[in-house]
């Protein structure tokens, strides 16, 4: 058991350096999630700023005994990304690509701080066992931020089928994950 405080714990205790350390540690992860989910550089940039403000403000609620810091960061990220996607939907026709897109692949890839996440590894196995079509539906929805109507169109499936498969797929994964009931309320209590 290590006594070293996590970044979020140090932010909660008023360590100003930890605020920037949070950017350096999770910036790549949050940015990668945002770019993939929103598919729009400008929106991703706004979302990343929202996410970090939310993270710093929520740091005192993080409890390492209940959830990993990476899960906490990604859960807050997900909430803000869904919010942003809703705004994006209300403002159709915004720039979908920008100049930064061309240079992005030349950026160094990063090993996001999630390699030791056992839940992540378990979900990888669950996804691998899924029917390819269901896995693709979940990926398009949860990871790439497509709406169920967009997915229905892409995959030539009825809307209701897509919606049901997304929800049931997640419920099934949730049932196999060992997320503490307490962790949800305490760690991401919004």
């Amino acid at each position: 058991m290590t006594s070293q405080k996590s970044i979020l714990e140090r932010i909660a205790q008023g360590d100003q350096r930890a605020v920037q350390e949070c950017i350096d540690t999770y910036g790549g992860l949050v940015w990668s999630l945002a770019r993939r989910f929103l598919r729009n550089g400008a929106d991703a940039e706004d979302a990343v700023q929202d996410i970090f403000i939310d993270l710093w403000n929520s740091a005192a609620r993080f409890d390492p005994a209940l959830a990993s810091e990476t899960t906490f960061v990604s859960t807050i990220s997900r909430r803000r990304l869904i919010d942003r996607l809703r705004q994006q939907t209300r403002r159709p026709g915004m720039d979908s690509l920008d100049d930064e897109e061309a240079g992005e692949m030349r950026l160094p890839t990063v090993d996001a701080p999630m390699e030791a996440e056992t839940d992540v590894a378990l979900v990888e196995r669950i996804l691998a066992d899924m029917a390819p079509e269901n896995r693709q539906i979940l990926s398009l929805s949860l990871y790439e931020g497509y709406s169920h109507s967009e997915i229905a169109e892409q995959m030539s499936l009825p809307l209701g089928t897509v919606k049901t498969r997304i929800r049931r797929g997640l419920i099934s994964i949730r049932e196999r994950l060992n997320i503490s009931p307490d962790s949800a309320e305490e760690a991401v209590n919004r």
């Binding site: 910036g27 999630l33 993939r36 692949m105 890839t109 996440e117």
Partner: protein, 289 residues
């Protein structure tokens, strides 16, 4: 243990719908209704599960795992500075027993926050470097020893900013000077002042009074410059705070060159500002009207 209850049927579907963003308006209303009747549900765990799926898919998608671009990182660091400054103000206020002491600290923080966010060495000549250096020294002194009163240094910075504005007004051959139009936004009707800008010097200042005091933890004012040479978004002119009544002079800190300003506008945004604003324009100063 919490009062967690396993979900069944419709509730599970709606909570999953929330976590996957697939609920429509009526389903969200139905969820709220069902949740109001429940002691506690698996709601946050479902969101956490969805985020773990996202992580798992990202781990498999190596090409999508990219570093944070330096330009975005720089904005986040600025945002972090503003957030830290806001927390410092908050912490100072909570321990201050005397109104006078609280007022002095707020004044110090106001000048620090305002000047720290606005003065950028790369955009200025020798005086800009001097101001930034003086500010950095004053800030360190303030943090390390609260018994040392840096107010004279900060006052010097404010005086120097005013002097720079006067110099720009008297010397710039291409000076643009426009007043703020009367605002129709509730609470901002009393705001007055003007903007001066020189494209040849890429230097300008806001002069403002009557703008409501902002809580830096909740949001900051942000300046935008509409450049007739750019046909997309307005140029970010930097964020600033108003923490007292009276006139403020704020250096404009554009992130891009502005060669043909068509209008200046002020919005109120999250701490650190935003890249593209959705908010209403609280103040507008159209050029040439």
């Amino acid at each position: 243990m919490s009062g967690f209850l396993p979900m069944q049927g419709r509730l599970a579907e709606l909570v999953a719908g929330e976590a996957t963003g697939t609920n429509d308006v009526s389903e969200n209303a139905e969820l709220d209704c069902l949740l109001s009747e429940s002691v506690a549900v698996d709601r946050e765990q479902m969101m956490a599960a969805a985020s773990v799926v996202q992580l798992a898919l990202l781990r498999q998608d190596r090409a999508a795992r990219v570093a944070l671009p330096e330009s975005v990182r720089a904005k986040l660091v600025r945002q972090a500075d503003a957030w830290n400054a806001g927390r410092q103000v908050s912490g100072a206020a909570s321990v201050a027993d005397l109104a006078g002491a609280r007022q002095r600290r707020a004044e110090k923080s106001r000048v620090l926050t305002q000047a720290r966010g606005k003065i950028r060495p790369s955009g200025s000549a020798a005086l800009g470097w001097y101001l930034a250096a003086a500010l950095a020294v004053a800030f360190v002194v303030y943090r390390q020893d609260s018994s040392v009163d840096p107010a004279p240094d900060m006052a010097s910075v404010a005086v120097a900013i005013e002097a720079r504005r006067e110099a720009l007004v008297s010397q710039a051959p291409d000076l643009v000077r426009v007043p703020w139009s009367a605002s129709a936004e509730p609470g901002y009707e009393q705001a007055r002042g003007d903007v001066v800008w020189s494209s040849s010097r890429q230097e300008g200042y806001l002069r403002l009074s009557g703008l409501p005091i902002n809580d830096v933890r909740r949001g900051q004012y942000q300046l935008w410059v509409v450049d007739a040479e750019r046909d997309v978004h307005p140029v970010d002119g930097g964020v600033f705070d108003v923490t007292r009544d009276g006139e403020l002079i704020i250096p404009i800190d554009t992130t891009l060159p502005v060669n043909r300003p068509a209008a200046f506008a002020v919005t109120f945004e999250q701490p650190g500002g935003v890249v593209v604003s959705d908010g209403p324009m609280l103040l507008v100063a159209p050029v040439g009207s």
